[in-house]
């Protein structure tokens, strides 16, 4: 008799306990809902440039011949091994099956996923809009690589090389070597822009102040300059172009690299070829 009452008591207690635990779990679920994804995706703040400049690039796909010189010049200037590519040129197709070359530097997004996710603020917006790396701070977690929708970031898997195989044919090293184990990226040759401005040059117009990939392009497919200045080469080219597009615009990353889509071959380097 006494045994059965004991059993009952134990049963009741355990049911109450389970209720308590259940309430705790529900409370816990509620807590997780406080931190909605939207509130966690707060944007990093941008400090305006004193001159109000925002550097941007325009790439005319009609003019690109896929020679890869932009990639090589980039590798020479940044002293990169052959398997390290800040800039990539790929052969792609339009819906109608027409082949074209797509060259892709870093998009220098105004809402860069890599800046939002970096746990140590090693990648940040410069006041002029360039997304740059602080290589002394990077811990090499590679979250930015995972976050970048353009695959624009490269990890330094190996020790840096002494001299790029593309040097001196396509230029000489202009920036310090990065240590092994950090994530690197295209920085619109910000060292050239900064030096150029010091000497009163205009990036996009004067070769010494313009990114190496723009300077080396044999067909002038790349145009560079201040997007906020209507007189800059990039603004003028954007004005002249009938249509421009940006890559993966649906993600709202607001890239500062624009493309002129392959509309007609008449403006390209092989214009009129095979027509007569």
């Amino acid at each position: 008799m006494a045994d059965s009452t004991n059993k009952d008591v134990e049963k009741n207690v355990s049911r109450r306990d389970l209720l308590k635990v259940g309430a705790a779990i529900l409370g816990a679920t509620g807590l997780t809902q406080f931190f909605s994804l939207n509130s966690l995706q707060v944007r990093g703040k941008e400090i305006p440039d004193e001159g109000g400049r925002k550097w941007g690039m325009l790439i005319d796909i009609n003019k690109c011949i896929g020679c890869n010189y932009c990639t090589y010049a980039c590798q020479a200037v940044n002293n990169l091994a052959d398997d390290m590519l800040y800039n990539v040129v790929t052969a792609e197709e339009t819906q109608s099956g027409e082949e074209y070359f797509l060259s892709r530097p870093c998009m220098q997004c105004a809402e860069a996923p890599c800046v939002h996710v970096c746990p140590v603020e090693a990648t940040y917006y410069r006041p002029d809009g360039i997304v740059e790396m602080n290589y002394d701070r990077c811990i090499g977690c590679r979250y930015c690589q995972v976050a970048c929708p353009y695959g624009a970031r490269v990890f330094n898997w190996k020790d840096p090389i002494e001299l790029s195989p593309k040097s001196p044919d396509f230029g000489v090293a202009e920036v310090e070597n990065r240590p092994r184990g950090v994530v690197e990226k295209c920085h619109f040759c910000s060292h050239r822009i900064d030096r150029g401005l010091e000497y009163g040059l205009t990036p996009g117009v004067d070769r010494e102040a313009t990114p190496a990939c723009v300077v080396v392009c044999p067909t002038g497919a790349r145009v560079f300059g201040d997007l906020n200045d209507v007189e800059s080469p990039v603004s003028k080219a954007r004005e002249e172009a009938i249509v421009t597009l940006r890559l993966r615009e649906e993600l709202s990353t607001e890239p500062r690299v624009y493309y002129i889509p392959p509309t007609t071959k008449k403006t390209g380097p092989f214009a009129g070829e095979g027509e007569s």
Binding site: L37, R104, P119, E121, C138, G140, R142, F155
Partner: protein, 421 residues
């Protein structure tokens, strides 16, 4: 005093052999093999791994996520023991704290190898970037590991070694040091409820954020998901408590019979059963939302590709839906089944499901990633095969976990906490 501890034995002919020393020897061999890989990766850098720019997170991150999930019982039982004050779970709560500590320290260890600059592991603590989920995860893990250490220290110090060893009287300095340690441990023990609340908050924050780490990345299609944070929390609870159930049976029923009532252990099983069912319910709705109610071309293509190269849907329907429903129901009915062998077998499934969830989540968006070309965007198929160095470091951390657990199961005084009160 310590109760009698029964170590498992196996019978070979007429001899019965205590497994413990051989098991420890095996684990030490595993550790040595792991240390070779660890040395190579620290010396040569990450190019010795199979990782690439396309797949920068691989085996180690999956181990890291799984290890953190396996510590998921610590915060639940911190609340049960310290806040709800359910006394019969006290010993199980101590085991949960141990599992939490082991899970998190394993995760921290494997992450250290995964960093490109391991010596800068402390940077997130100093250079704050509160917008980053990974920053939040790092801070929570660092703080939570401290909480777990504060919870574990009093348990370790209860060992008679730190109370009655002859050296404590022979060497005065050592004795007074131990006395101070004991009074510190006592105040830590008194602060239990505070630690439990801190542990609960930190755990929920970062278990959820580990899911959000992936799910905020809009550019990856299949990862972009609203419910991943909740799923990660529940699957850590379900897998973590299932592991706690299996280890409880081992530590309390096999090695220390009589210290914990069977009904308390059954309750642990029922708890994980309930959570597993709840998680599966959420997961199936999540599947419906991503695959059925909101058709997305990219996600569809990604799923299709993942199914052709890997059993992506199969592992979902089998490992995350069907088997957990069966296992969850079995565990929920623990008090009617009353068979520890069947229940332990069932408890393996929530653990595997938690690991499959994390494995699939990590690789889905990387293996099948969306291309950026503007006119004919498609899915790029990447491949990744871990190298032996990665397996070696994986062995290192898993052997560390097993070794620390085995030693703790053998020597830690789980049941003698009452003399404090």
């Amino acid at each position: 005093m310590l109760p009698d501890i029964h170590c498992p034995t196996i019978k070979l002919g007429k001899r019965s052999i205590v497994v413990f020393p051989y098991w420890i020897g095996l684990l030490i061999l595993g550790l040595l093999f792991g240390l070779v890989g660890a040395f190579i990766v620290l010396r040569d850098g990450l190019h010795v791994t199979g990782l690439s720019n396309a797949i920068p997170w691989g085996l180690w991150i999956s181990i890291d996520l799984s290890a953190i999930a396996m510590g998921g019982s610590a915060f639940v039982f911190g609340v049960i023991v310290y806040i709800l004050r359910i006394k019969r779970f006290e010993a199980i709560g101590k085991l949960a704290v141990l599992l939490g500590f082991l899970g998190y320290s394993t995760a921290g260890m494997v992450l250290l190898f995964d960093l490109g600059r391991p010596l800068r592991f402390w940077h997130p603590v100093v250079y704050w970037q509160p917008h980053s989920l990974l920053w939040e995860v790092t801070m929570c893990v660092v703080l939570y590991l401290s909480v777990l250490m504060a919870e574990l220290l009093p348990i370790v110090l209860e060992h008679p070694l730190f109370k009655t060893h002859p050296w404590l009287t022979r060497y005065k300095a050592l004795g007074s040091l131990m006395e101070r340690a004991h009074s510190f441990a006592h105040s830590l023990h008194k602060a239990g409820p505070v630690l439990a609340v801190a542990g609960l908050t930190l755990s929920l924050l970062h278990q959820a954020s580990l899911g959000a780490t992936y799910s905020v990345l809009a550019g990856r299609g299949i990862w972009f998901n609203q419910s991943a944070p909740v799923q990660f929390v529940f699957s850590a609870m379900s897998g973590g408590i299932a592991l706690l159930f299996i280890t409880s049976v081992f530590v309390f029923r096999v090695m220390r019979p009589g210290t914990v009532s069977d009904s308390a252990i059954y309750d642990v099983a029922r708890l994980t059963g309930g959570i597993t069912l709840l998680l599966t319910y959420l997961r199936v709705w999540d599947w419906a939302v991503t695959n059925y109610y909101s058709f997305d071309r990219e996600v569809f293509l990604q799923t299709q590709i993942l199914d052709t190269i890997a059993p992506y849907s199969l592992t979902f329907w089998l490992g995350q839906a069907l088997l957990p429903v069966i296992a969850g129901s079995v565990l929920l009915a623990a008090k009617s089944i009353k068979n520890f062998r069947y229940l332990m077998l069932a408890a393996v499934i929530p653990i595997l499901a938690a690991i499959i969830t994390r494995w699939n989540y990590n690789f889905a968006g990387l293996i099948a990633s969306i291309s950026y070309d503007p006119f004919t965007p498609g899915i790029i198929l990447n491949s990744y095969t871990p190298t032996w160095v990665e397996f070696s470091v994986g062995t290192l951390v898993i052997c560390y976990w097993l070794l620390a657990f085995s030693l703790a199961a053998r020597y830690l005084p789980f049941s003698s906490g009452h003399d404090h009160h």
